[in-house]
Amino acid sequence: MSGTLLIKNGHLIDPANGIDAVTNLWIDDGKVVAIGAYDGVADQEIDADGKIVCPGLIDMHVHLREPGQEWKEDIESGSRAAVAGGVTSICCMPNTGPHIDHAGIALQIIARAKQVGLCNVHPIGAVTKNLEGKELTEMRELSRCGCVAFSDDGLPIWHAGVMRKALEYASSFGFMVIQHAEEKQLTAGGAINEGWVSTQLGVSGMPVEGEDSMIARDIMLARRADARYHVAHISTLGGVALVRKARTEGLKVSTEAAPHHFALTEEEVLGYNVDAKMSPPLRTEADRLAVIEGLRDGTIEVIATDHAPHHEDDKRCGLSCAAFGIVGLETMLPVSLDLVRNGILSMSDLIAKMSSNPARLLGLDAGTLSIGAAADVTIFDADATWVVDRERMVSKGKNTPWHGKEMTGQVTHTVKAGRIVYAEGEVCG
């Protein structure tokens, strides 16, 4: 951990500091000490010639499953999957068992993640006790114990009155509420997007209005409460438009998009593909393009995966009864790099959406390579190609729609607080 690490001749991109140049990055005692020249001797060197060197990626929407469903994922396997994907900080959602609705669980997760020591894990506290949507959790206590935001993700905070109080209470202390926007009365029984694909397959659909109507309601409530409101995994044309309008108005509204929502459409589900089933579901091409436009114009500030590992048994039962969710940590970067290759975003803007932007929203001390900052670094080859093989995924979850697909862009090294935690295909430690 201590000792000096030199990352040599990489194309260093640090959006927060406006750095975009081929240079050296010097790390000492777990911190960034210099960019360019440094009066010191390197104990260790990484040759980053031809590669991109950027702040360690942040994924603010991850399901780690521990405690409670360790057969799907646990803090160790999730941490390993994260660093294999170049991610050095993750925020884990509270739908564990027990839920992250009291301080003990938050502390337990943080302690366990420190023991594993591969990646920073920041719990997101529940908004309501037992995620029941009735009584608020002790948000101040949860915040003191390390929770960086609040959400009932997996479930919406469906009750308008409770949501109003949640936004008012949370915003009294500057906390952000993250909403899984889904009006269940419109989506009940649905497995995939409602539309031509659901009609052909004979499977119940989840209409876009289920997402849009809840976002519209929440924005009104957030306006009244002057609250910080964040829409999780936005997937619809209407939703993006609502968030854009709210932001134009100056409201403290933000959102994130998951790679699958800007890379894939509902067509992926044809043939009853359970590994393309998640909530919100893959939508139409028009929705996909709207999400991309939202990323381009800044409406969507963050890319987050909604990494949702499941056991084969939870998926292998046909489309209608298969669990919702796909894994994402290990494919986040290459899938997102398409946005750069297609001219939607600059490399710096893309990296910002996976580092400095989520760090700013959540108040994390991460996401930059400023002198003195913790040396969390991701090094990747933007042009290297590889093929996704579900059997070789680091996560316990093998539920990926990209199995067998070629990816362009490969993480070569992940450094956490100056220590190499992933190198050339292997997790270290």
């Binding site: 031509w196 009609t199 397959l201 009853y272 489309l319």
Partner: protein, 331 residues
């Protein structure tokens, strides 16, 4: 000639294959009418009817079809099966497949069940006897045989289908067949009983039954499931449904003297169809039932005609390509 490997739905069949199965079914009608109802075609073959949903006519129809062609037929219904003990669908399928039947006939409330099982079962042919709101191919082949007997060919005809289209596998299979065989489907239902973007099948969509009647060559009524009333608020009462979408003698007159009546059964008399219409000379409902046995004989014969050379498919897409290839080669 290579046999059909599976029958998942009308979507996987081309026109030639559909006509082949209908014609083969036509040739089996006679066996069912003989005093001695037995042919040796499937001697030594095993057929398992695995029904996860209640069914009388479809299950009986498949059972008779197999038995009259001399196959050994086993019926398993979900209420008596291992699924009640918590065995997964896949385990049940694999267990039965391990007993080496030639064909599994499956009905399940989840769409895509047959495709899902076929992905994991190697040497067993699978026939879809209805999967959720997805497909019910043997019902459509049955109807097409009935139409062949009545009209010679359905080409250019107009079939007006009325009822719960949203939850109907019969509707979807007919919409697919209509495109392949060149007949028109006129769909009649309130919006609450229509699935999203139904018009993309290339059908006509009506909410007013009376407006859809003129020019109809057949009126095809679907069973109304009363649970839709409470679960989905799909319509306010059976009384109002009957008034708006029930087939009665007056509506039959409006449709014209040549218009025939069809229904896949079971009927709700007095709800979607009035008794006098159901029992009228224009009703082909019992012909449909009779033809169902013949068509299912044809399907089982086509599937059991010899097991195709198989290898375990690497993935779903490859499987469906292979299955389709096998089916095309057959004809």
């Amino acid at each position: 000639m290579r046999p059909l490997k599976h029958l998942f739905g009308i979507a996987d069949l081309d026109r030639e294959q559909i006509e082949y199965l209908v014609n083969l079914g036509d040739s089996f009608i006679d066996i069912n009418r003989r005093p001695l109802k037995k042919a040796p075609t499937l001697r030594g073959k095993t057929v398992i009817n695995l029904f996860f949903e209640n069914s009388t006519r479809t299950r009986t129809s498949f059972e008779l079809a197999g038995k009259r062609l001399s196959a050994d037929v086993i019926n398993i219904s979900a209420s008596t099966s291992a699924t009640k003990k918590g065995e997964t669908l896949l385990d049940t399928g694999q267990t039965l497949a391990a007993m080496q039947p030639h064909v599994l006939v499956i009905r399940h409330s989840l769409a895509g069940t047959c495709e899902f099982l076929a992905e994991h079962l190697e040497n067993t042919g699978i026939v879809n006897a209805g999967d959720g709101a997805h497909e019910h191919p043997t019902q459509i082949l049955t109807d097409l045989l009935t139409l062949k007997q009545t009209w010679g060919s359905p080409e250019g005809k107009v079939i007006t289908m009325v009822g719960d289209i949203a939850h109907s596998r019969v509707a979807r299979s007919h919409l697919l067949a209509a495109k392949k065989l060149g007949y028109t489907m006129r769909i009649v239902a309130p919006k609450t009983l229509l699935p999203s973007q139904i018009e993309r099948y290339g059908c006509e969509v009506y909410h007013d039954f009376d407006a859809a009647l003129p020019g109809s060559d057949a009126v095809y009524m679907l069973r109304v499931q009363t649970e839709r009333l409470t679960d989905n608020c799909a319509f306010p009462s059976l009384r109002e449904y009957h008034e708006a979408y029930g087939l009665n003698a007056k509506r039959m007159r409006a449709a014209g003297s040549d218009c025939i009546v069809m229904h896949p059964g079971p009927m709700n008399r007095g709800v979607e169809i009035a008794t006098d219409v159901a029992d009228s000379a224009k009703s082909h409902i019992l012909d449909q039932v009779e033809h169902g046995v013949a068509v299912r004989m044809a399907v089982l014969a086509a599937l059991c005609g010899g097991q195709a050379e198989e290898k375990k498919p690497a993935n779903r897409k490859q499987l469906s390509d292979e299955a389709m290839q096998a089916q095309r080669t057959l004809l």
